[in-house]
């Protein structure tokens, strides 16, 4: 049993403002759970509290059904990978990996067996006699994983393990960590500030900001139905396009940034309050090229074009906001050119401008995105 339960967990330093507040969460056994948030959101603190490296100010932490608030880190039966890998510079790879097993006085033969398994699994067999300073970043990362693997702890915590690697290696390691987790059946709690990592690796994601849970859910759910503006802008790259919006006085148009008028389709707009200030959001890939289409076409002036090879990013201004459209394929568009863009109301997300809460997610988006196989 390695289910982790957080019941009303809070953390404050010196009885000051809460760094974390009212965290309620259940992480299932064998789940890859990602904590994501900007720096200073409290995600690392939460992880360190689960590890036992930080005291829990309030609430209960249960691992495998037992309350472990009072237990020191070594008795919580978990392993942890640190951002800087925490390798001992004076010990060889082998000694680094076996450090914990020697501390726990595990049987010598068992030590060697686990070392061999871990080294083979992670491709470290030829590096066992080297010191950490003779390894590349990716290899050090593997050694840190190896230390975690040999511990045979069912729960593994990772604190931004990939942030010191270059982009290419990071993509490789994402896959490797994911495979390792599935293969060993680990319960993983993974902290990152990188939403791409969160989206690509997590079975479920928790978005944290200012010490409060913003949303917990599957990556696709977070992408399609962000519960508030923070999640909407944090998840997804490029970030969701947002703008102020209001209904015209006769209620026949939705006016975006006093600029773009969209005809109200009553079927789509029934649940939207008419008398509130709204924010609307639309994903970059839902701003379609409007060259051959007729309805809901708006001409905009291009302020930047990025060619990504298989797709083209087009930035333009809508009132005070800078929006990005993502068109598949290669488009020959110049700076300051005026182009037609199609904004369909069924792709719009509606948020309350004051509370930032989601009122209605895109009607079309959901149907199209998730294709079951």
């Amino acid at each position: 049993m390695s289910q982790v339960e957080l019941i009303n967990i809070s953390k404050s330093y010196d009885k000051q403002k809460d760094v974390l507040d009212g965290i309620n969460l259940t992480i299932e056994e064998g789940e890859f759970f990602v904590l994501v948030g900007p720096s200073g959101s409290g995600k690392s603190t939460l992880l360190r509290m689960i590890a036992g490296l930080e005291d829990i100010t309030g609430g209960f932490l249960k691992i495998g059904g037992h309350t472990v608030n009072h237990l020191p880190p070594k008795d919580r039966n978990l392993s942890m990978v640190f951002q800087n890998y925490a390798l001992y510079p004076h010990l060889t790879v082998e000694q680094n990996i076996l450090f914990g097993l020697k501390a726990r006085k595990v049987d010598k033969q068992e030590q060697q067996k686990r070392l061999k398994d871990a080294a083979e699994m992670l491709g470290l067999t030829d590096l066992l006699k080297r010191k950490p300073r003779e390894l590349s970043g990716g290899q050090r990362q593997r050694v840190a994983l190896g230390r975690s693997v040999v511990s045979h702890a069912p729960l593994c915590l990772m604190d931004e393990p990939l942030s010191n690697l270059d982009a290419k290696l990071r993509a490789n390691m994402r896959v490797e960590i994911r495979r390792l987790q599935k293969r060993l059946g680990l319960t993983m709690i993974y902290v990152t500030h990188d939403q791409v990592e969160a989206m690509t690796m997590g079975d479920r994601i928790m978005v944290l900001n200012d010490g409060k849970i913003q949303q917990v859910g599957k990556p696709i759910t977070l992408y399609n139905e962000p519960e508030n503006l923070f999640v909407a802008t944090f998840i997804g790259s490029p970030k969701m396009n947002l703008a102020d919006a209001a209904f015209s006085e006769d209620g026949r148009f939705l006016i975006i940034e006093n600029n773009i008028k969209i005809a109200v389709d009553s079927a789509l707009f029934t649940n939207i309050p008419r008398n509130r200030k709204l924010k609307i959001g639309i994903r970059a890939e839902h701003l379609f090229p409007g060259m051959t289409k007729k309805e809901n076409i708006h001409n905009v002036e291009v302020v930047n074009v990025e060619q990504l090879g298989n797709e083209t990013m087009i930035a333009f201004e809508v009132g005070s906001e800078l929006w990005t459209a993502k068109w598949t394929g290669q488009w020959n568009i110049q700076y300051s050119q005026r182009i037609p863009i199609q904004i369909l109301p069924e792709y719009l997300l509606f948020f309350d401008a004051e509370s930032g809460k989601l009122i209605q997610s895109a009607q079309e988006g959901k149907r199209q995105e998730v294709v079951s196989v």
């Binding site: 490296l53 070594k74 004076h90 010990l91 450090f99 914990g100 726990r104 511990s151």
Partner: protein
């Protein structure tokens, strides 16, 4: 063929030009480097290198009371020195003194540094206290210990009397004098050593300890496998400096014992001082100074050789 030769020529002359420019650049950067080194070269030259060579020069001469050379005697001072029982005793005592002071200083300082490295409330107060002896001058510390060692009204003997033990002549008994001076020296050196070791401890990445905690290491396992190895460069530095300091002890001897009783605390630097400024034998004093220099040089060289294998630089 005739077409290619001029090209080769220009190539060669170009390479020569490049070589010349390179050479000029090297000379320029050498001069710049020397310019930056100039202040320390001058200071070292005036206060270290010139006196060093002057001392070696003097050690081959007899001198008058003002220190001017009179008669060239060659190696005579050196030969006499190693047959002089007082000098031999001072060498023996110096080594004993190093053995008494260095290990104890380092062990006490290490212990204090390890406990002062804990994150506790008010730890700053203890850190200040532990390092405070660094701010006490040799003279003040010696006078202070002189009172503690006082045979009749000193605190140490009063303690002994409380337990109905015989009073000890701390500075007058030949058995105790060197130990007493060593105790004073240890007390004085602990502050500096403590501070350096604490600095070394604080530069060890805390995530190493956290990781070890999660992996189930005990306190002493961490101390043995993480703290000591990663502190080894600092320990090495501290030991080297302590040994050199101990070899050069002078102030506390002059104030506490003046080398007595029966030359028991006549350490080599004090012996040099007496030879030069009490007996006005600048020549033989210089010879002793040269011997001290060579001893320290050899000791330090040995330490570096041994240290290379034992010290883990990150």
């Amino acid at each position: 063929m005739s077409m290619t030769s001029p090209i080769i020529e220009t190539n060669e002359s170009y390479l020569k030009k490049v070589e010349k420019v390179h050479k000029q650049n090297r000379i320029k950067s050498l001069l710049k480097g020397l310019l930056f080194l100039l202040p320390s070269i001058i200071l070292f030259g005036v206060f270290v290198f010139y006196p060093l060579f002057r001392t070696i020069y003097l050690s081959f001469f007899l001198t008058d009371a003002k220190g001017a050379t009179t008669v060239f005697v060659g190696w005579e001072h050196y030969v006499n020195m190693f047959t002089d029982p007082i000098f031999l005793k001072s060498i023996k005592n110096t080594f004993l003194f190093v053995i008494y002071t260095v290990p104890v200083t380092v062990i006490i300082s290490l212990f204090l540094a390890v406990i002062a490295n804990e994150k506790l409330k008010g730890i700053g107060f203890f850190r200040t206290i532990f390092s405070s002896t660094m701010g006490v001058s040799v003279a003040a510390a010696s006078v202070f210990w002189l009172y503690l060692f006082n045979p009749t009204m000193g605190l140490l003997n009063e303690f002994l009397q409380m337990f109905e033990l015989d009073p000890i002549g701390w500075l007058t008994d030949p058995k105790w004098a060197l130990i007493s001076v060593a105790v004073t020296t240890i007390w004085m050196n602990v502050g500096f050593t403590f501070l350096i070791l604490l600095g070394g401890l604080q530069s060890i990445d805390s995530s190493l300890y956290e990781s070890a905690d999660i992996e189930g290491s005990s306190y002493f396992y961490k101390l043995r496998r993480i703290t000591i190895p990663l502190l080894s460069p600092t320990l090495f530095f501290v030991i080297t400096v302590s040994i050199i300091n101990s070899f050069q002890t002078f102030g506390q001897i002059d104030i506490l014992t003046q080398g007595g009783p029966a030359n028991e605390t006549n350490l080599i630097v004090y012996s040099i001082y007496r030879e030069a400024f009490v007996n006005y034998q600048f020549g033989s004093a210089s010879a002793q100074a040269v011997v001290l220099f060579i001893i320290i040089l050899i000791m330090t060289a040995i330490q570096f050789k041994v240290g290379e294998r034992r010290v883990h630089y990150q």
